[in-house]
């Protein structure tokens, strides 16, 4: 079938009309073959303009459309929609930017006209090579796998589970609740009591749309967003395996605590009555704050930032729970002296500082110190430290509570390998974009929530798990098909030599290798169409739809005329 190109130049009022000699261009173009119509129009993006275009496409039976107007950022989508409505494949259209990148930057009309002509010719030559790309639709599985039965995982399960959406909650240990279950209580502005946790756990267990798999771990993951295939292994016996299919995965594996034994200066494990935060939480919970000798402590030192230097980051929550400890000590033990040894008070939440003032009022002493050394001194514990101005100080106490850094949960690395998602230099899971997309990973459909991606307080963990749900609920809708990007890469098999360079450069792991054929394969459901693989392939065996070599060469050639 012969080609009928329609070329339309938008005057954009005076913006293009006054600065480019449109008539001259119309004149030059009419000679080109394959061109059915060349016209100018006052303002194509106006409603009249759009209607005009639609009619032209129909009446002139155009097979290809070139519009010379403003930047594609402004109206490419507008005009693609016009094409679609008028029955022309929107990818058989090329928008040529003669406003921002021509009319507006070149004051000499002659020159501007010359450049505009180049651009428009390029557009015409390019559009001839366009393919009528078709939108693809993918069936997807609405179910979700949640890894980790802590507070984040529980939250997520509850907000996702519904009759149309099954949730599989996989927990490594034998019980749900994670670290929160070990706590004595939360902070005032979080609501101190913990009964809510048991309530939520009950809800989860009673929800028929949630399958709870305790003492289990993810063994293997295949597939992609909308269609993951998961193998889950029981910790009780290796033979017990379960295969499930889900559309998305939330990683909520939580954290571990830094082992103070790695920093001997704190005397943990060697000096009596030096305990870490979790042990102290349990003391509070059991309401037995006692020294080894069974007596209650008279002087307690709370040491912040244990392991911060070694790990290279602030764990965010320690300052606050240390305050909680101080408050509890003051409330429970009438004549106890409490000292907080801190390096920086990290109180980012709006109500944190009030809490700090409140605790301070109770007579808790705050010492900004570093280079802390904890030594045994006959019956007591002696703390040596330096002040911010390098002055030496020391203090004798009978109990020390260490607040260790929050570190990645064990097996984080292993899980990262199984899921094929990256870790950052601190060993936590890496967000695809720390700022703009804090719960997503490079693998679409795999999300991270809570302390799996770094230290967070309970509220933030809850928020993140709900955020992951937000993402899933908005794009993985039961019965709705996925519409992946159309302008993606494809492998030209007869040229692919199987060197697999493309696999190593693809950030999204959209390319796999077909051992049998010996060629690479692009998964169009994952590919985002950046073209990095095309750039990496010496054989030119990868084609980025709509940005193929020939199409780009056409533009280059016109540039060189």
């Amino acid at each position: 079938m012969s080609k009928k190109i329609g070329v339309y130049i938008c005057e954009c009022g005076p913006n293009i009309r006054d600065r480019i000699n449109i008539d001259e261009i119309l004149e030059n173009l009419s000679s080109i073959e394959d061109i059915k119509v060349v016209k100018k129009y006052p303002l194509l993006c106006s409603n009249e303009g759009k209607k005009f275009l639609a009619d032209e496409i129909k009446n002139e039976e155009l097979t290809h459309l070139v519009i010379a107007a403003c930047s594609p950022k402004e109206h490419e989508i507008t005009f693609m929609n016009v094409c679609e409505k008028a029955g022309l494949n929107p990818y058989l259209f090329q928008l040529v930017n003669i406003r921002e990148q021509c009319a507006w930057i070149i004051s000499n009309k002659e020159e501007a006209t010359r450049m505009a002509t180049k651009y428009i010719r390029a557009g015409i030559n390019r559009v001839l090579l366009h393919k009528p790309l078709q939108k693809k639709e993918l069936e997807c599985n609405p179910n979700v796998l949640i890894i980790g039965g802590g507070i984040a995982g529980i939250e997520a399960s509850l907000s996702l589970a519904s009759p149309e959406r099954k949730v599989y909650l996989v927990e490594k240990t034998s019980v749900l609740g994670g670290k929160v279950r070990k706590l004595s209580g939360l902070l005032p502005h979080q609501g101190m009591d913990l009964t809510f946790l048991q309530k939520k756990i009950k809800e989860v267990e009673n929800n028929e749309n949630i399958v709870v798999l305790t003492s289990s771990e993810v063994e293997n993951v295949r597939g992609f967003f909308g269609n993951f295939e998961i193998v889950i292994k029981s910790n009780r016996n290796d033979l017990e395996q379960k295969e499930i299919k889900v559309g998305a995965i939330i990683v909520a594996t939580g954290f571990s605590l830094f082992d103070p034994k790695e920093t001997p200066q704190y005397g943990y494990g060697t000096i009596e009555n030096v305990v870490n935060a979790l042990e102290f939480e349990e003391m509070i919970a059991s309401d037995k704050i006692l020294l080894k000798n069974g007596k209650p402590p008279k002087t307690v030192a709370l040491i912040h930032c244990v392991g911060r230097k070694e790990k290279g980051y602030c764990s965010k929550v320690c300052c606050l729970y240390s305050l909680k400890f101080a408050q509890f000590l003051k409330d429970k033990l009438s004549d106890v002296n409490v000292f907080e040894f801190y390096s920086d008070l990290c109180l980012p939440h709006k109500s944190d500082q009030d809490y700090f003032e409140e605790v301070k009022k109770k007579g808790v002493n705050f010492i900004k110190a570093n280079e802390i050394q904890i030594k045994k001194s006959n019956s007591n514990i002696n703390i040596e430290y330096k002040t911010i101005t390098e002055k030496k100080g020391s203090l004798s106490v009978d109990m020390v509570v260490l607040s260790p850094a929050i570190i990645p949960a064990e097996n984080t690395e292993k899980l990262a390998k199984i899921l094929n998602i990256p870790l950052d230099e601190t060993g936590f899971f890496k967000e695809i974009h720390e700022k703009l997309d804090p719960v997503s990973t490079p693998i679409e459909g795999i999300y991270i929530a809570g302390c799996a991606s770094g230290p967070k307080n309970i509220l933030e963990s809850v928020i993140q798990s709900q955020a992951a749900c937000g993402k899933i609920l908005s794009c993985l809708i039961p019965g709705k098909k996925l519409e992946p990007e159309v302008r993606v890469s494809e492998i030209v098999e007869e040229f692919c030599t199987g060197c697999q360079t493309c696999l190593s450069v693809c950030f999204y792991s959209a390319i796999s290798f077909d051992e049998f054929k010996g060629v690479s394969v692009v998964n169009e459901a994952i590919c985002r169409g950046c073209g990095n693989c095309v750039g990496s392939c010496p054989s030119g065996a990868i084609r980025l739809k709509h940005f193929t070599y020939p199409q780009l060469y056409r533009e280059v050639l016109e540039a060189l005329r």
């Binding site: 030599t497 060197c499 360079t501 190593s504 030119g540 065996a541 020939p550 050639l557």
Partner: protein, 415 residues
């Protein structure tokens, strides 16, 4: 960052010194024969002289008797060993144990092709040999006897010899040193797997033996096992070889600098560079024989670059004239940009050029610079990833037009 030193250098440098009464070729062949008998491997991959001719071909050899025809170090490189081994191993696994004996430049090509998934090294034992160089194919074909004689004289003296290929005269990677891992700055950030990754498993040293003895050294643990199996004790000192090898390498490195500098002066700059490739007839032989050019179809042969006649006419009008065949220079520069990081300077391209373009030497000049700037030595380490497969965040900042900075600087001065 793992900087695994390979087995060979963990110990004081020792190996087996074998006496070569019947000449070094015989000594090497005896060793190979023995290892076949002892079932160290089922077959050899080795150059064999074709009956009643002077030409050599690669042969997958199972029958020991044929060994007499084999020549582990023929006077010419007719087909690059890397290319040959790729054809043998690329498609599918095999259950045979095979030993391939090759020149260092061929071994390095094998390793590059291994990284590019064009060679499988399962069941392959690589044996490298000190290489005195090779004769230009054309010269050899025109006078094989004489050339073979001159070639064999090299083994006593190892002195340079003008009838060698120019690329061999300046080859500083003729021995083991270029086949041993040493993790470079650039690839240091990349996780390297496996403990033991030298290019070859066993190396046969010839320099310093004056043609009377050969030096047998296990390089990888695999190599060690084989020599153990053969009950070859590797406790002799390698001093003679080491000293001579070092001496020869230094000498060649200096020569290399000098000669390449002279050549560079002859080819640099658009005018001279164009002149060098003027004679190119676009046969693309250089690409077809190159072991690194592994593409099924060369991008510059593909129809992607073909344009319609009227486009050629416009271009001709534009530039007054248009030369056919088209894009000759584009081919050479393009090919260079594709393979020069992995170029092992084996010289087969030059051998294959019907127009005697010093292409191997030109590529050599570029390869030296480029590989240096990427801290990459092709074929040195089986684990070292090809440079275009990874990046570091804080590298090559100089290649970007540092415009922002200059602006703010100017301002600071203006103030």
């Amino acid at each position: 960052m793992s900087t695994v030193q390979n087995e060979f250098f963990k110990k004081p440098k020792k190996g087996a010194v074998l006496h070569a009464e019947g000449g070094i070729h015989k000594a090497i062949l005896d060793f190979l024969r023995k290892s076949l008998e002892k079932k160290c491997f089922d077959a050899l991959f080795i150059p064999v002289k074709v009956h009643d001719t002077d030409s050599y071909v690669w042969v997958l050899l199972k029958d020991k008797s044929l060994l007499n025809e084999a020549n582990p170090l023929p006077p010419v490189i007719s087909v690059q060993g890397g290319r040959a081994l790729s054809t043998l191993t690329k498609h599918g696994e095999m259950n045979l144990q095979i030993a391939a004996i090759m020149r260092p430049c061929e071994i390095r090509a094998v390793i590059e092709l291994f990284k590019l998934k064009q060679v499988s090294l399962n069941n392959i034992t690589l044996i490298s040999i000190d290489c005195p160089g090779a004769m230009p194919l054309s010269d050899y074909i025109s006078n094989p006897k004489e050339m073979a004689k001159r070639f064999n004289n090299l083994f006593e003296t190892w002195e340079e010899n003008e009838s060698l290929r120019p690329i061999c005269i300046i080859c500083h990677r003729f021995s083991l040193s270029s086949l041993l891992p040493s993790i470079s700055r650039q690839s240091a950030s990349v996780e390297l797997e496996g403990i033991d990754s030298p290019a070859s498993d066993i190396h046969i040293g010839l320099v310093g033996g004056n043609g009377e003895k050969i030096f047998l050294m296990p390089v990888s643990s695999k190599g060690e096992e084989i020599l153990e199996k053969l009950e070859i004790a590797t406790e002799d000192s390698l001093e003679d070889w080491e000293i001579k090898e070092k001496e020869l390498r230094d000498k060649k490195e200096n020569k290399r600098k000098k000669i390449l500098q002279e050549l560079k002066a002859k080819i640099e700059g658009p005018k001279k560079f164009v002149a060098v490739f003027d004679q190119c007839i676009n046969c693309h032989n250089c690409m077809r024989v190159c072991p690194i050019c592994y593409c099924r179809q060369c991008y510059f042969d593909s129809k992607t670059l073909r344009l319609s006649p009227e486009v050629y006419l416009t271009r001709a009008k534009e530039r007054k004239s248009l030369r056919f065949p088209l894009d000759t220079l584009l081919f050479h520069l393009g090919r260079m940009s594709h393979m020069v990081l992995s170029c092992v300077s084996c010289g087969v391209c030059e051998d294959a050029c019907p127009m005697n373009i010093p292409i191997a030497q030109v590529f050599c000049i570029v390869a030296d610079q480029v590989q240096k700037s990427f801290g990459y030595v092709p074929g040195r380490d089986r684990r070292e990833p090809p440079p275009l497969r990874f990046f570091q965040e804080d590298e090559f900042q100089e290649v970007e037009m540092q415009y922002k900075k200059t602006i703010s600087r100017e301002e600071t001065q203006n103030a």
